[in-house]
Subunit: 194 residues, 2 copies
């Protein structure tokens, strides 16, 4: 979850305020991926970020507002760059998804996001935007060769295999599981395409 | 998440105590699937279940202990009964998974479980048991026709497609997406097996 988008909402702000907001959003992401929801209180975040509680409440009156900006600031993580070899490109993109989980706590950030949005409909929009961005490369790779429910299923299955492994099996998928998942999906094209 | 296992831990208890524990675990699951982690405090649960806080603390000194017993009590939900037609059986099992999400809030329970176990290693064991039980029928259906990383990938992808849809796309997968997911996996067997 490397910052990729910067400030996404609100009016133009001067450099000092922008820096304050960035410091606090970074601290929010740190706490979110190291302690989860329990650490996400304004008093605790103020302490971690080194700002007053009043500053936090001033910018974000509640946790939902803070989470919305923190996830927008974080973005969906890095993507791979397609080379034109479909099988290698799918494997590279899933491997990048796994790397973002491993290095930047994307797995924990997504687990918290799922648990929060299930009960906070106001966050559905930021979740949907993150998921759209997160799936963009995968969907772009598969759209020329699959369509309709088959395309939707393939995207859900490939990213879902990595998610399922990380979120409910407590381990990231191995290289061989990622390759096997890609080959299962590519079978329908008459064998691995390259 | 219908209760399927009853009490799983602790010494034999008399009927009154067993009933108290059951009432409170049911209330815990209700709160967990309707309000999420924010509602999971001992005072709030005591109020909802109609018992004293002291009773709750007496049985479960902390939230982790309570969650462990609540998830064990809930179990992994109902399964379909295989008929021998692999394609229909896989579709039926994924459809049952979706139904358990729809009717009993299994999607929310799993979102909370993922978010909690990411930061509470003590709960990994109960999560692993639930996932093993939850995957059991699916794995049993696929084990005769796939093995190694291909079997692991297929199980992660099929259940992962439903999970991904529910937890990160905010909607349960349609019948046609479920059927397309099953057909993608069965392709490797030389077309839908029946």
């Amino acid at each position: 979850m490397a910052p990729i988008r910067g400030e996404a909402t609100g009016p133009p702000v001067d450099a000092r305020v922008a820096r304050t907001r960035q410091d606090i959003l970074r601290a929010t992401l740190d706490v979110l991926t190291s302690q989860g929801l329990d650490g996400l209180t304004h008093p605790h975040l103020a302490e971690v970020a080194g700002y007053s509680r009043a500053t936090l409440y001033n910018h974000w009156p509640n946790r939902t507002a803070l989470l919305r900006d923190a996830y927008t600031y974080a973005g969906a993580g890095k993507h791979s760059t397609p080379t034109g070899d479909l099988r290698s490109d799918l494997i590279a993109e899933l491997t990048m998804f796994r790397t973002e989980m491993e290095r930047h706590g994307l797995d924990r950030a997504l687990a918290v996001l799922a648990a929060v949005t299930a009960f906070t409909p106001e966050l559905a929009e930021v979740r949907d935007q993150l998921v759209t961005d997160g799936e963009q490369v995968m969907r772009g790779l598969l759209a020329p060769v699959l369509d309709g429910p088959e395309l939707d299923a393939a995207v859900l299955m490939l990213t879902g295999a990595v998610l399922n492994s990380a979120l409910l099996h407590g381990q990231l998928p191995s290289d061989s599981v990622i390759a096997a998942a890609v080959d299962l999906v590519l079978c329908t094209l008459g064998g691995p395409a390259s």
